[in-house]
C-alpha cells in the first residue's frame, strides 16, 4: 500500500498553486470561527501531483480499459461535452444571479427538458433530482401524491419484480409503501399470473426496468400497463437501462406514467465513483401537477420571450424542492451537449450499436461454450452468463473469473446480480467499443476457463498483478474499519 497524502505531510510545506491568499475581511461572527487550524496535508506541488497521478494509475477506468460492468453503462464520454460544460460562462455563473444574466444557461436547460420529453415520450421533465436514487424517490413520491390528491389514500403497495435493482424496493419503502415482490418466469419476463394475483385496490403502482436487469425486453409491457392501470395503479419506469432503447422505443409509448433517467450514465458524465449525478424525471399528463421543482419554464413579458424558474407558485401541488437550484448543472450541461452532438439519428445509433455489441459478444461467448441465462432471448444492451457448471465442476466461481479478468487487464463484469441467476456475470459492452476489443475479451474469457479446466489453475487469490490483491470482503464486512487515525 502506498502512503496516504497525510503521511507525506510536513508542517509548513506548501504547494505554490495552493498557497494561501490574503484572507478578505469577511464579517463572520466570532462564534462561527474555528478555534484551531483544519487538519490538511501539507505537501509540495510536485509531491501532490505525483501522489494523485499514481493513485489514478492504479485505478481501472474507461480511459484505459474495457469496462463491461453490467447495468452501469460504462461508455466513453466525449471530451467535448466536458469542455463545453466547463466554459467560464457556465462554470462561473452564480446560481443566485438575476434570471436575466442566466438566459444562456436557462435556454440550454429548457431545451434539454424538451429533448428528454421527445426521446422518452413524456409530457413534462424536471431536471432537479441530483442522483438516480433521488429520481426514483421523486417518481414514487409523485405516484403517492397523485393517489392522495384524489382521496385514494388506501393505495400503499408498490409491486417490484424480483429482478429489480435494489434501489426499487428501497425507494418504495422510503415513500411509506409496502413492497410486493413478484417472480420472473424462466424466459425472463414478468410472471403474469403472479402480477394478476397481487393487483388490487391497495396497488399504488409498479416499478419496472425495461429492458430488465436480466438484459431482455419485457414483451408483455402493453398488457402489464393495461392491467396495472385497470387496477388503479400507475407505472414507474426505472431508466437504468435507457441506453438500450434510446430513440427506438419510448417509455411514454409503453404507457409509463413516470420515469427517471440517469443522465450521468446514458448522457455522458463519467460515473461509478459516487460523483455528481442526475436523476431527471419525466411524467405524463396526470402527474404534471406533482413534478419536483424547480423546472425551467418559458414566459413572455412585453412581447419578449424569456426563460425562468417555475417553483412553488407555478406548481403548487409539487412534491417539493429536491435541489437548491438546478440539480447538478454540470451533469445537465454535459447531457445537453451530448444530445445536441448526437441529434435524433445519432441517438438511435447509440441504442442500435449498444444492442449490436451486446448481441455480438453474447453469441461469441455462447459459441465458445459459455452458458447463457436466457439462451432463447435476444440481448438488449447487456446479457447474463452463468458459471454454475464451472463452479460445481472446477470450483471456478463467477468471482474467480471476475478477478482473473483484472489480471488480463479487463474490468470485471457485474457479479452475482441479478440474484436469481446463480454464479452470474452481467455483461454490458456499450456502443463505444470496437469489434477487436470485444474479440479480445472473448479470448480472455476462454483462456481463463481453459486454464482452470485443463491445467487446474485456481484463481482463488487472483488478482495477482493488481496494486491490491483479493480482498477479504467477509472480514471487511464483519470488522468494518474505515477511519484513518494519525499516530
Amino acid at each position: 500500500m502506498s502512503e496516504l497524502i497525510f503521511e507525506k505531510s510536513r508542517g509548513g510545506r506548501r504547494a505554490f498553486a495552493q498557497a494561501p491568499v490574503e484572507a478578505r475581511s469577511l464579517s463572520i461572527p466570532e462564534q462561527f470561527l474555528r478555534d484551531d487550524q483544519p487538519r490538511l496535508p501539507e505537501a509540495s506541488e510536485l509531491q501532490t501531483v505525483r501522489h494523485y497521478t499514481r493513485l489514478s494509475q492504479k485505478n481501472f477506468s474507461i480511459d484505459t480499459q474495457f469496462y463491461p460492468l453490467g447495468s452501469c453503462t460504462m461508455k466513453y464520454n466525449p471530451r467535448a461535452c466536458n469542455a463545453l460544460a466547463l466554459l467560464p460562462e457556465f462554470a462561473g455563473r452564480h446560481p443566485l444571479g438575476p434570471v436575466s444574466h442566466g438566459q444562456g444557461f436557462l435556454t440550454c436547460m429548457y431545451e434539454l427538458q424538451e429533448m428528454l420529453k421527445d426521446v422518452t415520450g413524456m409530457k413534462g421533465v424536471s431536471l432537479t433530482p441530483m442522483a438516480g436514487a433521488q429520481g426514483e424517490l421523486a417518481g414514487v413520491a409523485m405516484i403517492k401524491a397523485y393517489h392522495d390528491a384524489r382521496g385514494d389514500t388506501e393505495r400503499d403497495e408498490i409491486i417490484v419484480p424480483d429482478a429489480a435493482h435494489g434501489t426499487n424496493p428501497a425507494t418504495a419503502t422510503m415513500c411509506g409503501c409496502t413492497v410486493k415482490e413478484i417472480p420472473t418466469g424462466s424466459d425472463g419476463d414478468v410472471d403474469m399470473d403472479a402480477l394478476k394475483a397481487v393487483l388490487g385496490p391497495k396497488t399504488a403502482g409498479i416499478m419496472l426496468t425495461n429492458p430488465s436487469t436480466l438484459g431482455v425486453f419485457e414483451r408483455h409491457i402493453k398488457l402489464i400497463a393495461e392491467m396495472v392501470h385497470d387496477a388503479g395503479g400507475l407505472l414507474y419506469y426505472d431508466g437504468a437501462n435507457l441506453n438500450a432503447i434510446l430513440g427506438k422505443v419510448r417509455p411514454g409509448d409503453m404507457d409509463f406514467d413516470v420515469i427517471h433517467m440517469n443522465l450521468h450514465k446514458t448522457f455522458s458524465t463519467p460515473h461509478g465513483g459516487g460523483g455528481p449525478g442526475s436523476g431527471a424525471v419525466g411524467v405524463n399528463q396526470r402527474l404534471l401537477p406533482f413534478m419536483p421543482i424547480p423546472v425551467v419554464t418559458k414566459r413572455e413579458k412585453d412581447g419578449e420571450t424569456f426563460f425562468d424558474w417555475a417553483a412553488e407558485d407555478d406548481i403548487p401541488q409539487s412534491i417539493g424542492r429536491l435541489s437548491g437550484f438546478m440539480g447538478n448543472s454540470g451533469v445537465l450541461l454535459r447531457a445537453y451537449v451530448y444530445m445536441r452532438m448526437l441529434g435524433r439519428d445519432g441517438m438511435q445509433r447509440v441504442a442500435e450499436f449498444a444492442t449490436l455489441n451486446a448481441n455480438y459478444l453474447m453469441v461469441k461467448l455462447r459459441d465458445a461454450g459459455f452458458e447463457l441465462a436466457f439462451p432463447e432471448r435476444r440481448a438488449s444492451h447487456e446479457f447474463i452468463v452463468t458459471l454454475k457448471h464451472e463452479a460445481k465442476d472446477y470450483s471456478l466461481t463467477a468471482m474467480d473469473v471476475a478477478k482473473a479478468l483484472l489480471d488480463k487487464n479487463y474490468h470485471a463484469p457485474t457479479t452475482y446480480f441479478p440474484l436469481l441467476v446463480p454464479e452470474c456475470l452481467l455483461i454490458e459492452p456499450t456502443e463505444t467499443e470496437s469489434k477487436e476489443t470485444l474479440d479480445n475479451f472473448v479470448a480472455a474469457m476462454i483462456e481463463i476457463v481453459r486454464a482452470a479446466k485443463e491445467d487446474g489453475v485456481q484463481y482463488k487469490e487472483a488478482p495477482y498483478k493488481m496494486p491490491v490483491r483479493r480482498l477479504d470482503d467477509v472480514k471487511a464486512a464483519r470488522e468494518l474499519n474505515l477511519r484513518y487515525k494519525p499516530e
Binding site: Y416, L419, P422, D473
Partner: protein, 131 residues
C-alpha cells in the same frame, strides 16, 4: 453438497424445520441457501414472543453478496432465537442444520406436513436447480 438430513421438513424458500418433542419447531436455512448466499456477515433476529404469519418475514440473513429475508414457514410465535448468530453469523455456513439454527417457534395451529417438502421432494427441487 452433503446429503440432506432425513428427519427435517423443507420449504421452497430453502428453509428447514425440525419437529421438537414438545410440539415446537426449530427453523433454519438449508446448506444450499447458505452456500448460495456465501459467507454470512450479519443476521437480524426477531424478538422472542413476536407472532408471525405463515410466509411473513421473520429474520434477515446478509452475506457480502446479498441480504435475504427468512420467512416463517408456518404461523406461530417466536419461542427462542439463536443469539449466538449475532456474533457468529458464520455458524450458519459451518453447520446450517445444527449450531446454525435461527429460531424456535410454537405453532398457532398444528403442523400441516402437506404444506412442506420431504427430504426427497426438496432434493428433487435442488436437482432441478442444478440443471
Amino acid at each position: 453438497m452433503n446429503e440432506l438430513p432425513g428427519d427435517l421438513l423443507y420449504t421452497n424458500d430453502h428453509e428447514w424445520l425440525r419437529r421438537e418433542g414438545d410440539g415446537s419447531v426449530t427453523v433454519g436455512i438449508t446448506e444450499h441457501a447458505a452456500t448460495s448466499l456465501g459467507d454470512l456477515v450479519y443476521v437480524e433476529l426477531p424478538e422472542v414472543g413476536q407472532d408471525v404469519d405463515a410466509g411473513g418475514e421473520m429474520a434477515v440473513v446478509e452475506s457480502v453478496k446479498a441480504a435475504s429475508d427468512v420467512y416463517a414457514p408456518i404461523a406461530g410465535s417466536i419461542a427462542a432465537v439463536n443469539d449466538d448468530l449475532a456474533d457468529d453469523p458464520e455458524k450458519i455456513n459451518a453447520d446450517p442444520y445444527g449450531d446454525g439454527w435461527i429460531v424456535r417457534m410454537t405453532l398457532s395451529d398444528g403442523l400441516d406436513e402437506s404444506e412442506l417438502m420431504t427430504p426427497d421432494a426438496y432434493q428433487e427441487l435442488l436437482d432441478e436447480l442444478d440443471d
